[in-house]
């Protein structure tokens, strides 16, 4: 009998109390639970959407220069200038944060024939790197009478 009373007081009564309280809590939180369920569904959909957008964004930002590509980027521009018989001089400004990326101003001074300089502008569009040309200045280059033209390109490049 002692055992029965013990189990009654220490097991059954607390358990029934607990069950009753859980039941009351579940009943009270039913609305919130429904909200949470719908939130879970929305979260799943959102997650799929986010992944989709991220994939598309990454396709575009692949043109942003990574740390490993810094030297390759400089070589690419220099080689392009050399290929088109243009004297070129690059200067890259400090990196500034923009969203989760970084950007920096780049100044490219080229000297050579106008046709080659226009070709240079065409070629940099085809590079794998994203280079946004902001302004272009032309002045006469070299000695008087030469067909040399100085072109200064002010552009922005992006880093990831």
């Amino acid at each position: 009998m002692v055992l029965i009373f013990c189990s009654m007081f220490f097991i059954i009564l607390p358990s029934t109390d607990k069950l009753t309280s859980i039941n009351a809590t579940v009943q009270a939180d039913q609305g919130e639970t429904e909200n949470k369920k719908s939130l879970i569904k929305q979260s799943d959909n959102l997650n799929i959407g986010i992944k989709d957008v991220e994939t598309k964004l990454n396709e575009f930002t692949s043109g942003f220069i990574s740390k490993a590509d810094e030297v390759d980027f400089i070589y690419t521009l220099e080689n392009l200038g050399n290929k088109l018989n243009l004297k070129n001089n690059l200067s890259i400004g400090e990196k500034k944060p923009i969203a989760t990326f970084q950007q920096s101003d780049i100044q490219i001074v080229l000297q050579g024939k106008y046709i080659d300089e226009v070709a240079y502008l065409s070629e940099i569009k085809k590079l794998k790197y994203q280079i946004t040309v902001n302004s272009v200045n032309f002045t006469q280059g070299g000695a008087s009478g030469s067909d040399s033209v100085n072109m200064t390109v002010f552009a922005t490049v992006f880093w990831q």
Partner: protein
């Protein structure tokens, strides 16, 4: 049949009581056993339910917390998208624009320097016009092409008849032509040259004829136009000022 009743009555009662007691004890034991089983089931149910409820609460709280992360993630993503959109919008077809610009410089205009700022939509030109009419033709072409909305020459400039030096600093519209540019006597010629020699002017006129035959606005055309104009080993009479 003889029925013996040798056992005393009190012993019989004792035995009866013993049987009742044994029955009661057995019933009590069965009851205890059932009670313990029931207790165990209830305890197990309570613990399981508590666990399940705690799990659900923790999970839903986690999701609620994650939804805050999603908000941050979406905000970051939107920020990135706006940056990328801006970058895409800023992409400009410079070679095509320069070709378009070149086509609108009359033959007798020498452009000593040119500056095109796509960010501020500003254009700055330093030109020398052979005649007043050439300068007016330049204005007409630039305005008609939509590169410049309008600009006026000072009267002092209009008083000059030949070799007029003039600087144009104006807001510009960096757009590409929608339709092919119609060939006219005042369109299609050089961009940057440092010469005013008759040879160059002749060369420009020749190019005009060639380019009007070829397809307009093609990069190839742009290259040809610029190439021939800048190719001659022209002797410069006017340097960059």
């Amino acid at each position: 049949m003889i029925k013996l009743n040798l056992v005393p009555e009190y012993i019989k009662n004792d035995q009866k009581l013993e049987r009742i007691l044994a029955l009661n004890i057995r019933a009590l034991l069965i009851l205890c056993f059932g009670f313990f089983i029931a207790s165990g089931v209830i305890l197990y149910a309570q613990l399981s339910l508590q666990d399940a409820y705690d799990d659900f609460t923790a999970q839903s709280n986690l999701i609620a917390d994650n939804s805050k992360d999603y908000n941050n993630k979406v905000a970051t993503l939107n920020n990135r998208i706006s940056v990328v959109s801006k970058i895409k919008l800023e992409n400009f077809d410079w070679p095509a624009f320069l070709e378009h610009f070149s086509q609108n410089i009359p033959p007798n205009i020498i452009v000593n320097s040119a500056s095109f700022n796509h960010v501020n939509d500003f254009i700055s030109l330093s030109v020398i016009a052979k005649t007043r009419e050439d300068l007016l033709a330049l204005r007409t072409n630039l305005v008609a092409s939509g590169i410049i909305s309008s600009f006026e020459f000072p009267v002092s400039i209009m008083l000059q008849k030949e070799n007029i030096k003039f600087e144009i600093n104006s807001q510009a519209i960096f757009s590409l032509p929608q339709a092919p540019v119609a060939s006219s006597s005042t369109t299609t010629t050089a961009v940057i040259t440092a010469s005013t020699s008759p040879e160059i002017i002749t060369a420009s006129t020749t190019i005009k004829k060639k380019t009007t035959k070829s397809k307009k606005n093609s990069p190839k055309n742009a290259t040809t136009t610029s190439n021939i104009l800048t190719a001659p080993e022209a002797s410069s009479t006017n340097g960059i000022k």
